[in-house]
Symmetry: C4
Subunit: 251 residues, 4 copies
């Protein structure tokens, strides 16, 4: 097996397609957002990527085993650009894997005619969020302007540590290919899976790309998470400040 | 030395051979099972695999040193398919090694004409086992059906974390080669080397492939292990629940 | 992306150019020194080096993302040799990366006609420094003599553990290319970013190469650091000896 | 720089040369023994090996920097086989490095006409040693017999964990090249640098190969070490059993 292998399963005709990445990360914001699009809209599996830099692992569902991989789905929208989602259960487990996988993802995007890249993720604030702002970073001034008009915040020196992993490299390596790319990062405590942050990110993305999804199931999941938080706080017998420290960090 | 080196020592004529993998893992279930076959039946050493992804180590027996390797033995059975066992003392020590070694093992299997792959292992339950169920995962629906008839349990979402290491990758990479493969996982506490779980796995395998081994020596070893558990429990002055935590995890 | 990629942005005519490396390290001495040169003198960005051995990361400034890299600037001096600075925010994250990046840096240096290499860094003493000595190491006896005349100390068996990372390898690999190279190491506590140590190193370098920079801004920064130390000592209610242990090590 | 680089500096005519490896390891037994040969007998530096799998480091002596490497010296003996020593300050830092370096060392040995390989090392017993036995492992029965006659102990299942690192791989990879190889392991507590164990190993080697060195300086160093042990025991106010635990393990 080669370090990075592409399996193309379908090559649909797409209008001005946009790559939407949502792999695991802080608060699972990007993953929740991209998977919500796949749950709400019709999609076609178009490609899989396998790699020796993924964990040496198969997932088992109903007795059938599947090798660790990332996958691309095409989602045709009515008015705006069509979408290519990039989802999966794993990130690479070493630096060379991160670089090589991101390059491979962009090769697939290139083959599918992708015109722009949106990496979705979360940015940890360390405290429970009231107002879900979405931070941005992009490779071109035009994209910065466009996203700013859509309500994305561009703050000096944020995120402080830069952007790490596939989301960061999608920007860095797209920039070197002259492919416009942006990262949309929903603010999230960093302690919990955060469907509200995912919704905030998706609302921006809908607006920028031009498509619509229903948020009912994501809101339901957010209510469940709030119930969890409430219970933890009760058990602690304290307010949010006290209990917050006891929530598990989900990175 | 190349990262993965194959040494073919014999190429016997085999009937419809089946690969039976038993490398070290949870409860040493797979290793015990595959090695028990070699102890009970006549076998020929047919191939060795060396790798720079194995530990940099030689074993010493009676003063003679042998480089870390995995080995394949051919076992001719009277009625059913012949067996090719894959055994050894090591797994790879990094992701690329796991993928590369499994690919190399399948290259050897291909060269020896292997028609089906059975990876043997244990699935940790965290508690001492009364009834030794055997869980399954496979790459084709036919294999799932066949194994289910033989008493293997296929449970939704189990094993929860998927299957890791060579056993998992044998399924994942066989699937990509269109070689039918299954993993048989004996339930085991995960705290101890578990000959009973190995026997449960072997009884299924015997039935599916069509061969027979005597279990006396494995049962003897199981009795010894139970004696060990009993002594630990006495020292603790407590019941199984109390002492269990003090048993060493064997992964 | 290749493991090591060179992007040449300009190829100015330079007089007898000298490479001056200042990547992150003990007390950030080398980085402060090389960056101070770029702040004080006119410079041209001449090359960037990207690598899959850098962290998988982009930095974000005013919303715009940039892939992790090291960069070379040309600084023309009036009388002495021209300078090529090598700066950046990262070192490689594994052994092969360290060797490969240093080799790549020397390939760039070679292409830009570099005649001599000066690696700048700090050597930790474990205690706050009164007199900022500069230790040296070099690849040729001529360089040792020249630097000794300029006030650099060459001490038997110092630094005790040798020189690690890019600074060390620049000496080791330059030596194998017959390119004269030296490392100038400012003594520093090792606990704090140390602008005074950087100044001591730069004063030597000015003298040896023949250029001049103003130190006002570096002195200001040194005053700020001393203020920080003073406050920590007050909080501790103790003298330097007591508080020193509480300063954070910056490596 | 290639992952493994050989620099040949001299190609002397040698009689039936034997490789004697003494890189860092348990109790520094092998290193002490091989370096003692170089201190006592005339030798010529014949080759250096550099590797990107060594630490990214230069050593500095009297201001001059040298890249991490291993080195081979030729030692001509009067009667017996001539010696090629392999010494250095580092082992590789990852599995592929261990395998690749050992292969490279054997390539050098091959080029220098080496007929047999002796890897020197220590085997930790966990307790202070009274009688310094030397354990052996070898690749051929002839070598086992020859070494046994010289007083080397070959014990069933010892060393229990096999032999790890370059010494182990020299046996494993020599075996695959049909080059007879043995490992001589001096028993040592494992807690301290052990010149007495080094002497025990050298006395066997002298006898087997046919050369002689003076042991005065090694005995002096052993006396110094015993003085260290005595002082630690006094400080502990206890006998050997008590203080032993407080000695630092040197691996």
């Amino acid at each position: 097996m080669d370090p990075f292998e592409i399996e193309i399963l379908a090559e649909p005709e797409l209008d001005d397609p946009v790559l939407v990445e949502g792999l695991p990360g802080v608060g699972h914001v990007g993953k929740l957002a991209a998977e919500h699009v796949l749950e709400e809209l019709d999609s076609t599996l178009v490609a899989r990527v396998y790699s020796t830099h993924f964990p040496p692992q198969v997932t088992v569902e109903d007795g059938t085993a599947e090798l660790a991989h990332a996958e691309f789905h095409a989602v045709e929208t009515e008015d705006g650009s069509d979408l290519i989602t990039l989802t999966g259960d794993h990130q690479a487990q070493d630096n060379e894997g991160h670089y090589g996988l991101t390059d491979t993802f962009l090769d697939v995007a290139d083959r599918l005619g992708v015109q722009r890249v949106f990496a979705l993720g979360g940015v940890p604030t360390g405290e429970l969020i009231e107002e879900y702002d979405v931070l941005g970073a992009a490779t071109t001034d035009e994209l910065v302007d466009e996203l700013e008009s859509a309500g994305v915040e561009f703050r000096e020196d944020e995120p402080a540590g830069g952007i790490v992993g596939v989301s960061g490299l999608l920007l860095g390596l797209s920039g070197r290919r002259d492919l416009p790319a942006a990262c949309l990062m929903g603010e999230t405590s960093g302690y919990l899976v955060d469907p509200k942050s995912a919704q905030a990110v998706l609302e921006i993305l809908q607006d920028v790309i031009g498509f619509e999804v229903d948020f009912a199931s994501l809101e339901e999941r957010a209510d469940e998470m709030e119930e969890v938080v409430r219970k933890i706080q009760e058990m602690e017998g304290g307010g949010p400040a006290a209990s917050e420290e006891d929530l598990r960090y989900i990175g």
